[in-house]
């Protein structure tokens, strides 16, 4: 749960009298935290000073206790205003001054009450409903004419991320990218999280967003095993990952390269096209698996374990496979719809899909970005997914090591 906060103002001769110091000490001593905002210090001795303090606590009760303790020292809860809304002028068009979101937990004030914005993600708008009262994050293209869109900054507050209870790599909550660090403990932490999400009380889903390098580099078996064992619940991929996975099942190659022989096979470049064509003829990946045409690999494991799969198209796709969503907005919506309940995201060996997924994820979801190219996790962090832990390593090595941590024997 996010931290609870309230803004208080302190006014008067608060600096020399140590009243400000006392209020801040009291907040800390009681187990709260604060952000000191807009401190205006009087220029002369007679002139009063003013401070705005955002007080935060882990629970409503603790916050109330802290506020009660600091109020006798003059800290009064700021009279806050409701957020302002304007109606969307047309479908897909936001009012000029629309509030653009971050991916941090966000609340808006409606009828004097702070309500959580549902489905928060970065770079979208907020549509408010005063009568319920509720608010949700809405991408530009989904806005309907007449929607009450939050405008300006009044009555909107963004909460900082709470430091997770777990003392693991995600506790640092900052993008770390380095090729020159041991990976072992990071992978062990990821495995621990995955086991907890699968077996623990507060169960959650693990999302894997992956590129075809997983297949090319030899990570197919490890990922299929992870899926079969129930460690992965949502898969985002493109046409290529699915095509090469099934190519491997049918021909033993990935993009015509023999996965076991380790060399290209004659006419191997046709294999993925023939695979796609065959599955198109059957009608769907599900049917291909259920009729036994494809029996192993990632897609087969997904069908058997009822993993939510979102396959998104791109301009260079062959085919594509049935089920690949070629309308980018529809693909974005399908990815968005699969996110509720995700408690860990693994973005593996795919630049654009990783960034697209990162853009949809709230900052509260622990995220790992794995790529041999350090620019990918860096780029992801630069686009705002600061919570992502970057791992510079080969996709297959990552998946194998992760699977081994979880009991994979191969």
């Amino acid at each position: 749960m996010a931290t609870i906060q309230e803004t208080v103002v302190l006014h008067g001769h608060i600096i020399d009298s140590l009243i400000l110091a006392k209020v801040l000490d009291t907040i800390l001593m009681m187990g709260g935290t604060f952000d000191l905002q807009d401190v205006r210090i009087g220029v002369t001795r007679d002139e009063p000073s003013r401070a705005r303090i955002v007080v935060r606590a882990a629970s409503t009760e603790l916050l109330a206790e802290i506020l009660e303790a600091i109020q006798p020292h003059g800290a009064s809860v700021e009279r806050e205003r409701d957020c302002s809304v304007e109606l969307a002028p047309a479908d897909g068009i936001l009012p000029d001054q629309f509030y653009a979101t971050t991916h941090l937990p966000t609340q808006v004030r409606l009828n004097g009450q702070w309500v959580e914005v549902e489905g928060i993600e970065m770079d979208v708008a907020i549509v408010a409903n005063r009568s319920r009262p509720s608010a949700k994050a809405v991408p530009m293209h989904d806005v309907k004419q007449g929607d009450a869109v939050v405008v300006g900054r009044d009555g909107v507050r963004v909460l900082p991320l709470e430091r997770p209870k777990e003392q693991d790599v995600f506790g640092f909550m900052e993008a770390q990218v380095s090729a020159e660090r041991p990976h072992g403990h990071i992978i062990a932490d990821i495995a621990r999280r995955m086991r907890a999400l699968r077996d623990g009380q507060g169960r959650g889903k693990v999302l894997l967003s992956g590129g075809p390098a997983i297949i090319h580099a030899g990570g197919r078996e490890a990922l299929a095993w992870l899926i079969e064992e129930g460690f992965v619940h949502v898969l985002f991929a493109g046409n290529a990952l699915a095509a090469h996975d099934m190519e491997a099942a049918l021909y033993g190659t990935s993009l015509g390269y023999g996965l076991t022989a380790g060399r290209s096979v004659p006419h191997g470049h046709e294999h993925h096209l023939r695979t796609i064509n065959r599955i198109r003829a059957i009608g769907s990946i599900e049917q291909t698996v259920s009729t036994g045409v494809i029996q192993d690999g990632i897609m087969a494991a997904c069908v058997r374990r009822h993993v939510s799969v979102v396959l998104t198209g791109s301009i260079r796709d062959d085919g594509p496979l049935p089920g690949v969503i070629t309308d980018t907005l529809a693909a974005q919506s399908a990815m968005r719809a699969a996110l509720p309940g995700v408690g860990l995201a693994l973005l593996v060996a795919s630049t654009l899909l990783s960034i697209a997924t990162g853009n949809l994820l709230p900052a509260t979801v622990p995220t790992v970005c794995v790529d041999v190219n350090p620019s990918v996790p860096t780029k992801l962090a630069d686009r705002g997914s600061f919570q992502a832990v970057g791992l510079v390593m080969d996709a297959a090595s990552f998946l194998r090591e992760l699977a081994r941590e979880l009991g994979y024997k191969a």
Binding site: G12, H13, D16, S17, I19, D46, H73, G74
Partner: protein
């Protein structure tokens, strides 16, 4: 010349308990009270040379005798008190009417801001500039000082009072005309103690013992080099004498039954 507002103890008694000193069982002897009050007036007028302005007491308002809590006066402006306890709120219209009748420009605080006048707001006597100090937490609300600071364009340093026996600032803090401070540090929280030490240099801080603090040695009236304080505080008197003050002890134990002494019985009008 110092003008002091006073109110005869015609109706003085302990009729309720709103501070740790008041015990309904500890009855006031009206004759002794009147004699002690008259003794104080005599010292103020004859020994100290103060001009006394007497206001008419009102029946049923036993604490009106403590005029320090009428409000605060600066120049021709007066801010009447807004008492925390309903028992004393009934005094408010009398004090306000008195200020108006005397031609003061009366500024009222919001009803939800408790402020108990010169009992809680003190500055160094004869200091035109300089900070005032405002006691809070027991009776007055710290937010009142924000408003008062604006009204009088003064720096007001709030000081937290942490001992309910010293429920007004003037029970434990007495700024003197030469810049010294007669005070009882234990009545303040650690932040206030630090602030006092920053504002008043070590040689100027005259610390009262607990025994004499409990006799309200700090509830003293300073006019020039004269300090009128309750009897029974020899150490405080010695402290004052070493700094060149002339102490005037006055027996006021009847008023201690209600938690007040020399300073509480007066309000400096200039």
């Amino acid at each position: 010349m110092s003008r002091l507002l006073v109110c005869p103890p015609d109706y003085f008694s302990v009729a309720y308990e709103i501070n740790p000193w008041m015990r309904l069982s500890n009855r006031v002897n009206p004759e002794r009270a009147r004699a002690q009050w008259s003794g104080l007036m005599k010292v103020l007028e004859e020994d100290v040379g103060a001009v006394l302005v007497r206001m008419k007491p009102a029946p049923g308002l036993p604490d009106m005798v403590f005029t320090a809590n009428a409000g605060t006066v600066c120049g021709r402006r007066a801010v009447p008190s807004r008492f925390r306890h309903p028992e004393r709120q009934r005094e408010e219209p009398y004090f306000e009417a008195w200020f108006r009748k005397q031609g003061y420009e009366v500024q009222k605080l919001d009803d939800d801001l408790y402020f108990e006048g010169a009992g809680d707001l003190l500055g160094f006597p004869d200091s035109v500039q300089g900070a005032w100090f405002g006691g809070y937490r027991q009776r007055s609300d710290i937010r009142a000082y924000v408003r008062l600071g604006e009204l009088f364009s003064r720096e007001i340093i709030p000081l937290e009072l942490v001992d309910s026996r010293f429920y007004h600032l003037d029970t434990c803090f007495c700024p003197l005309s030469g810049g010294e401070l007669l005070y009882y540090p234990t009545a303040f929280d650690s932040y206030a103690k630090t602030v006092i030490a920053e504002r008043v240099g070590e040689p100027f801080r005259l610390v009262v013992t607990e025994t004499e603090a409990l006799r309200f040695a700090c509830n003293a009236v300073c006019v020039g080099k004269h300090v009128v304080l309750p009897a029974g505080c020899p150490r405080a008197m010695t402290l004052l004498e070493t700094r060149g003050y002339q102490p005037h002890p006055v027996p006021l134990d009847e008023f201690m039954k209600a938690g007040g002494s020399a300073k509480c019985l007066t309000l400096a009008l200039e």
